[in-house]
């Protein structure tokens, strides 16, 4: 497991966490290169299905992050997002999807250091947990490979 480099996707809102991650850069704070950000206008835009898609395409971990409560650029998007996360997390738990692999956080545009911490801690945690084998078994690439080998 030593060479395992986890693949982690971060879904973040444009106004707080994306800007916070920009600040991490401006402050030259270092963090692991495993996390790649996909920008959304607001956490309210983040569809639960996109999280499923990330796992089934081989993500070992996911970060979802946006503005702190009351700080939403659109005033209430993050509140709606939080409700959905509460419910979806419940559902994931119930169906045996490892919610330890999804980190939800509030990172403001001023919290550059927090973003570095969030990334580093998540990478360390997922590295320890290892690849998401359960999901990978049914992930796209695996299925494709099986199909290919079946044809051969």
């Amino acid at each position: 497991m030593q060479d395992f480099e986890p693949k982690i996707v971060a879904f973040v809102c444009n106004w707080c966490t994306y800007a916070g991650a920009d600040l991490t850069g401006t402050s030259r704070t270092k963090y692991a290169a495993n996390v790649k950000i996909i920008r959304f206008p607001c956490t309210g835009r983040i569809d639960f299905m996109i999280l499923m898609k990330a796992f089934e395409n081989g993500a070992d971990g996911i970060i979802v992050s946006g503005c702190h409560p009351n700080d939403c650029h659109y005033s209430t998007g993050n509140f709606h997002a939080r409700r959905r996360w509460i419910v979806f997390r419940n559902l994931m738990n119930f169906t045996g999807i490892d919610t330890e692999r999804i980190l939800f956080s509030w990172v403001s545009a001023a919290e550059g250091f927090k973003w570095a911490d969030v990334v580093n801690n998540t990478v360390a945690k997922i590295r320890e947990m290892g690849p998401y084998e359960n999901y990978n078994k049914i992930a796209v690439s695996t299925l494709l490979k099986e199909e290919v080998s079946n044809h051969e």
Binding site: R83, I86, V87, I138, L143
Partner: protein, 267 residues
């Protein structure tokens, strides 16, 4: 039973309704839905202990809708479906003629949504102890056991979409399953696509499911998929104070919020 037939006959005769959705004898000993448009058809209505399934799913079906003004024999689940559909602007007050058979076999007719709401306040809307026990059993498992459990169940799914067809809340003309740009849900029935489909369905029913259980009843592969939505009922009730299908003007739990909604996982 005669009271029901007489009532429906009268409703059809005086043109209060054009068609009545009720129960009738199916093949073998099964009960099925019938759509009585004539007095003759109305005479075939039955009401037996086997008549338990939720007929409200038919209300929005294209073929049924076009029969004209509808009447329906509703049980508690159907009444809740109607309330939920009303809150989603799918049924208007007074649009459907609603009959209900009481414990003493007498008939209650609901003249408006308000009377349904009052009735539901006192009705038993809980999931059965057996269903509760099954949920608790799954919850007691470890994460990987739960994963294995559901993986085994979803493996059986043949993507026939009977659950979707049976669900009174699945009235969308184009389900996300049918969206192909992008192809959110893979078409083939393999584990991945099946998981996607069932999670998507459960999420879309979260806060809307009125626990009638028709999805699981319809499933030819006996997947207990009602448990997926049932287990979300309690957290939504305790967390957000919302129960689906109780009020015609309810605000959907997932399209509102409280600034102090409680969670313990966001850092």
């Amino acid at each position: 039973m005669n009271e029901l037939i007489n009532k429906v006959t009268k409703l059809l005769n005086d043109k209060t309704i054009d068609a009545f959705i009720g129960y009738g004898q199916g093949s073998t000993d099964r009960v099925r839905a019938i759509f009585a448009r004539t007095v003759e058809q109305a005479s075939k209505l039955i009401y037996t202990p086997a008549c338990t399934f939720n007929l409200s799913g038919y209300l929005l079906k294209h073929e049924v809708k076009h029969l004209g003004k509808l009447g329906i024999l509703a049980n508690v689940a159907a009444l809740r479906s109607i309330m939920q559909l009303a809150s989603e602007f799918q049924i208007k007050d007074g649009e459907v003629y609603i009959l209900f058979v009481n414990d003493d076999a007498s008939l209650t007719e609901f003249s408006d949504f308000q009377s349904i709401e009052a009735f539901l306040e006192k009705a038993n809307i809980d999931i059965t102890p057996d269903e509760k026990a099954r949920i608790e059993k799954i919850e007691a498992m470890s994460v990987s056991e739960r994963w294995e459990f559901w993986n085994k169940e979803f493996e059986k799914c043949i993507k026939c979409y009977a659950c979707r067809a049976a669900c009174p809340m699945c009235y969308c003309h184009r389900c996300t399953t049918d969206v192909n740009q992008p192809q959110w849900i893979p078409v083939a029935s393999h584990e991945r696509g099946n998981l996607d489909y069932h999670l998507m369905r459960a999420m879309h029913l979260a806060g809307r499911c009125i626990n009638c259980g028709e999805c699981a009843n319809a499933c030819p592969m006996d997947i207990p998929l009602n448990l997926l939505t049932y287990q979300l009922i309690d957290p939504i009730k305790t967390g957000f104070g919302a129960t689906a299908g109780m009020k015609a003007d309810a605000v959907y739990a997932l399209s509102t919020f409280k600034p102090d909604d409680k969670e313990n996982f966001i850092i």
